[in-house]
């Protein structure tokens, strides 16, 4: 029997190519293309009075300059609002090039095309733009105060106001024995993948056909957008996501202005065109996330049971809102975490500011929600003098209560309903993994040496695998290779490996014989995209279903050819064989040939196939009504609703008594994403997420000044963790399979980042006794807080 691949830590098939330097990332393509540079606004808010390009015309290598006025009418329309919502009453999106007004530093004003990027940048530098600078709105509270307006016609700066409720929170809080009220702040961060954005277009004038390569998480949607803006038949546009150097959400945004401009100008000039963003551009023109201010009121009983929770928050979505309310809606719902909340009210305002727009970054609103809920639970425990894990325990939904429908609406417009999980079991595993109960001894031992240490934890539930669908195509070639395609694209998740594992198992073929293509509309036209930890769940299951169909087709063909009942056949080692007498068999590749009534004897398998050809019924068509030539199948997976993964993190930190330097001593993760397709890949996803979470907790903040200037738009100043900042992480998996899909899997991509800030805040608070209500926190901020507090407050023994 062939060894089962699904669930095994199979080494990734994409690695050798990437390790030899043979990757094909966006900027590795199109060496002969003209290059684009964009002139971007230096002001957060301004009217454009005049643009003078005279000096730029002298630049050697200049090809063309385009402003808004030079664009055809279709390109002068605002970019799409991708996800409308009834509450989104004042939605604004940007133009591909600014139409007389700019609303954030970095907004695209004009496009220069030149023979190379050096020349294009030379030209940009020589263009003079006259601005009337307008007052900038920076920060969520300033936005809501509405002394100035981002968009003149929206006088409160509010795009949407939304409330969701379960039960009656204000009433439950009023009746509760204890109440607490407090505020939390989360700063801006961003995905910052190591590869910036890029787009490369080739226009074939003879075929009137466009090929677009772009570093996107949603190639089928980019294709549709480009076809629409360029007024081309969909059939004349192909979009390919090549190797992508990380996405983490920012590359799900589409279309970017450059994804429209580059193909348009390629067609205009009849020449290959490429745009590759530099790092500073990425900071000021590619989207950010996270920033929220939250106000929380909670009522609870003596055991710490939450009786009512009332949350209000402002979500800063920046200058435009192309992605709708996805992020704040996720915060609103996923905030609940693993707890049974019967009285909950959440209200948010999504506000405009003169800063880079906000769209999902890994976690997509969940880290903020988790921060709110977990800081709340810790406050309750502190107030009552109870162990923090104990307070979590009394609030958990119990496994027998699942599936549990909260009565809220999730990001996909479907019921917010947890399908699976065992939170008490996860907590027990976590406590063992980090030795929670032994911590007080460790604390005492450390204190005896003058060291300050603390422990904290945080739990989350993550809706993954959101719909509406993904598809998969599986084809057995007459040569024996199995070709697999799915429409969504890959940014390092190892799809090529994981999807090949699924198909190898279904068809009983060698893993090496399965070739997977993702993100190429020439191979698969219908797809949604890679986001919301959905690729493995959605495309994995779609490919599985397609492979099952191919398997059934192979069995039927073999049954006819061998004259054996289907029940007596099995697929293994690249063949269909008779159970119990494996020598009676037929190769899958021969079946692939047999499946096509036209079989010229081009090769051996075609010659072999003829010997099995059943005598044709002269009265029946060679391809029957419900048949198709080829050993192939396409299928789609479309779940009724999302599947919910969950997990818990615990962390031990040490605070330097002199400098308040924060060091992570130990980090433990318990993670439940259902069945694991490939434990190595899942572990990698979790570890990568934790590293980003550590960045968000301790280092990463987009530092805007009052004028809307981003003060730290480089890796020199915006600190993402190096190896020295990321702790060793220990992981334990609990596998409660999802009942919603055939593979029993749940998404894993975002999990690692969600509870990290909350857990680290809890540990710092536990170490120092100082309430942590804002993230990230730097040693200097912590130091000031420690200096400012009364001397009587003890440290190390809170």
């Amino acid at each position: 029997m062939t060894t089962r691949m699904v669930g095994a830590p199979v080494a990734r098939s994409e690695d050798p190519r990437l390790l030899r330097g043979e990757g094909r990332f966006l900027d590795d393509l199109g060496h002969d293309a003209y290059q684009v540079a964009i002139l971007r606004s230096p002001h957060a808010h301004a009217r454009i009075l005049d643009i003078d390009v005279t000096d730029a015309l002298e630049v050697d290598g200049l090809i063309a300059i385009h402003t808004f006025e030079d664009l055809p009418p279709r390109l002068q329309q605002p970019m799409p609002l991708l996800i409308p919502h009834p509450a989104l009453t004042a939605g604004r999106t940007q133009y591909v090039l600014a139409d007389g007004e700019v609303n954030h530093v970095g907004e695209a004003i004009l496009m220069v095309v030149a023979t190379d990027r050096y020349a294009a940048e030379d030209a940009v530098e020589r263009i003079t733009v006259d601005y009337e600078v307008l007052p900038a709105v920076v920060g969520p509270e300033n936005a809501l105060a509405a002394a100035q307006f981002v968009h003149e016609e929206i006088p409160d700066n509010v795009a949407a106001h939304l409330q969701q409720t379960i039960g009656d929170a204000p009433r439950a809080i009023a009746a509760a024995p204890h109440t607490l009220e407090f505020r939390l702040d989360i700063e801006r961060s961003a995905s910052t993948p190591m590869e910036t954005r890029g787009t490369y277009a080739r226009w074939d004038a003879d075929d009137r056909r466009l090929r677009l390569y772009t570093s996107t998480q949603a190639p089928t949607s980019v294709r549709a957008a480009v076809a629409s803006f360029l007024e081309l038949p969909l059939a004349q546009v192909e979009c390919i996501a090549p190797d992508i150097g990380g996405g983490f959400g920012v590359k799900i945004m589409h279309p970017w202005p450059e994804e429209i401009l580059v193909p348009w100008v390629a067609r205009e000039l009849g020449h290959d065109i490429k745009f590759v963003e530099d790092r500073r551009e990425h900071f000021i023109s590619s989207n950010h996330e996270r920033a929220q201010v939250q106000w929380i009121t909670v009522g609870f009983d003596d055991a710490g049971r939450v009786l009512g929770l009332d949350v209000r928050f402002i979500h800063d979505h920046g200058a435009y809102i192309p992605y709708g309310l996805i992020v704040p809606i996720i915060t609103s719902t996923q905030l609940i975490g693993p707890y049974k909340l019967e009285n909950y009210r959440v209200t948010f305002d999504s506000v405009y500011t003169n800063t880079v727009p906000v769209t999902p970054y890994r976690g997509a609103g969940r880290p903020q929600g988790c921060f709110a809920m977990e800081r709340t639970i810790d406050r309750i425990a502190r107030h009552l003098g109870l162990d923090r894990t104990q307070v979590r325990g009394v609030n958990f939904l119990q496994p027998e209560e699942l599936p549990y429908d909260f009565g809220l609406t999730f990001q996909d417009g479907r019921p917010y309903c947890y399908d699976s999980g065992d939170f008490p079991a996860s907590l027990a595993m976590l406590k063992t993994l980090i030795d929670w109960d032994g911590f007080e001894q460790r604390r005492a031992a450390a204190a005896a040496q003058g060291r300050i240490i603390g422990i904290g934890m945080a739990a989350y539930v993550e809706g993954t695998g959101v719909g509406p669908y993904e598809g998969g195509h599986v084809l057995v070639e007459p040569g024996g290779k199995v070709q697999v395609a799915t429409g969504l694209s890959t940014q390092g998740q190892g799809h090529q490996t994981a999807f090949a594992q699924i198909v190898a198992d279904q068809l009983g073929v060698a893993f090496e014989d399965v070739e997977v293509v993702t993100g190429d509309t020439r191979r698969f036209q219908y797809a949604v995209g890679t986001f919301a930890s959905r690729a493995a769940v959605m495309s994995g299951n779609a490919i599985h279903l397609a492979a099952v169909k191919v398997r059934e087709k192979a069995l039927k063909l073999a049954s006819d050819a061998l004259e054996v009942d289907v029940e007596d056949l099995e697929l293994a080692e690249g063949r269909v064989r008779v159970v119990g007498s494996p020598d009676t068999s037929i190769d899958l590749k021969v079946l692939a040939t047999l499946s096509n009534p036209l079989r010229y004897a081009f090769d051996d398998s075609a010659r072999i196939a003829t010997q099995f050809a059943t005598p044709a019924d002269p009265d029946a068509p060679p391809v029957g009504d419900d048949e198709a030539p080829g050993l192939e199948a396409t299928d789609y997976y479309s779940p009724v609703r999302s599947t919910f993964a969950n997990g818990m993190h615990a962390v031990e930190v040490e605070i330097d008594p002199e400098t308040s330097d924060i060091r992570i001593l130990d980090y433990a993760v318990v993670h439940d994403c259902g069945n694991l397709l490939n434990p190595t890949i899942v572990k990698g996803q979790v570890l990568g997420g934790v590293a980003q979470g550590v960045g968000g907790a301790l280092y990463e903040r987009m530092a805007y000044d009052d004028h809307g200037q981003l003060q730290n738009a480089s890796f020199m100043d915006f600190l993402i963790p190096y190896a020295t900042e990321v702790p060793a992480v220990r992981i334990d998996h609990l596998e409660t399979p999802s009942p919603l899909n055939p593979l029993g899997i749940k998404g894993a991509g975002e999990a690692g980042v969600i509870p990290t800030s909350a857990a680290i805040a809890a540990a710092i608070e536990d170490a120092t006794g100082i309430v942590i209500d804002a993230m990230p926190i730097s040693p200097s901020q912590l130091h000031e807080r420690r200096l400012a507090r009364p001397v009587t407050a003890g440290e190390g023994t809170p």
Partner: protein, 194 residues
């Protein structure tokens, strides 16, 4: 607004700008003499990627922080985004393309990255591999902390570094066993195979 006809007069190598300050740069890359005539301001990273079309060297920041562009210059790791191509005239460069054996067999550092899941998207990977080769030449028997510090000049946004650190450790062991120079092209015949 305006379209000029400069395209017709652009005559330099692909990606080149016509200029009076073009310079011929002759270097040895991965043991092979290479040359190209480029503007004086051409970055070494662009020279490798676009003039020599060795696109394995990546660019993540172009300001010397991320390490994605790391190559070996006369055997020592340097950031190719911080050097001008003209400044390395006559010298020797090793890039990621110069490590695997001619038959494609992975170099021990590359193999270790695969074995230890030291890469996800693979964008930072060439820089890490080149840094590791330079590091292991100086530190053939590093302990865990030395590896962590030695690899702390490169950024990875995907992996959380655990797999990378484990890979460097594995590679150190493999290279010590064979005695091969970590910076040399892999030679399976010389007992270089793990």
């Amino acid at each position: 607004m305006s379209t000029t006809d400069h395209a017709a007069t652009a005559t330099t190598s692909p990606g080149g700008t016509p200029s009076g300050t073009d310079v011929e740069v002759v270097v040895t890359v991965n043991g092979v003499p290479r040359s190209a005539t480029v503007p004086a301001r051409r970055l070494l990273s662009d020279f490798l990627r676009h003039d020599l079309r060795l696109t394995g060297t990546h660019v993540g920041c172009e300001h010397g922080v991320c390490g994605a562009c790391t190559v070996l210059l006369d055997g020592a790791p340097v950031r190719s985004c911080l050097a001008f191509a003209v400044s390395i005239h006559g010298r020797e460069i090793t890039t990621i393309e110069g490590l695997a054996a001619d038959d494609g067999t992975l170099h021990p550092v590359q193999q270790a990255f695969q074995d230890e899941h030291g890469l996800q998207c693979g964008y930072c990977t060439p820089g890490f591999v080149m840094s590791a080769c330079g590091f292991l030449a100086d530190e053939p028997a590093p302990d865990d902390q030395t590896i962590r510090e030695g690899m702390s000049g490169n950024l990875c946004r995907c992996t959380g570094y655990a797999g990378i650190l484990a890979a460097v450790k594995q590679a150190a062991g493999a290279l010590r066993t064979t005695g091969a120079d970590p910076r040399a092209k892999h030679d399976p015949a010389a007992g270089g195979q793990r």
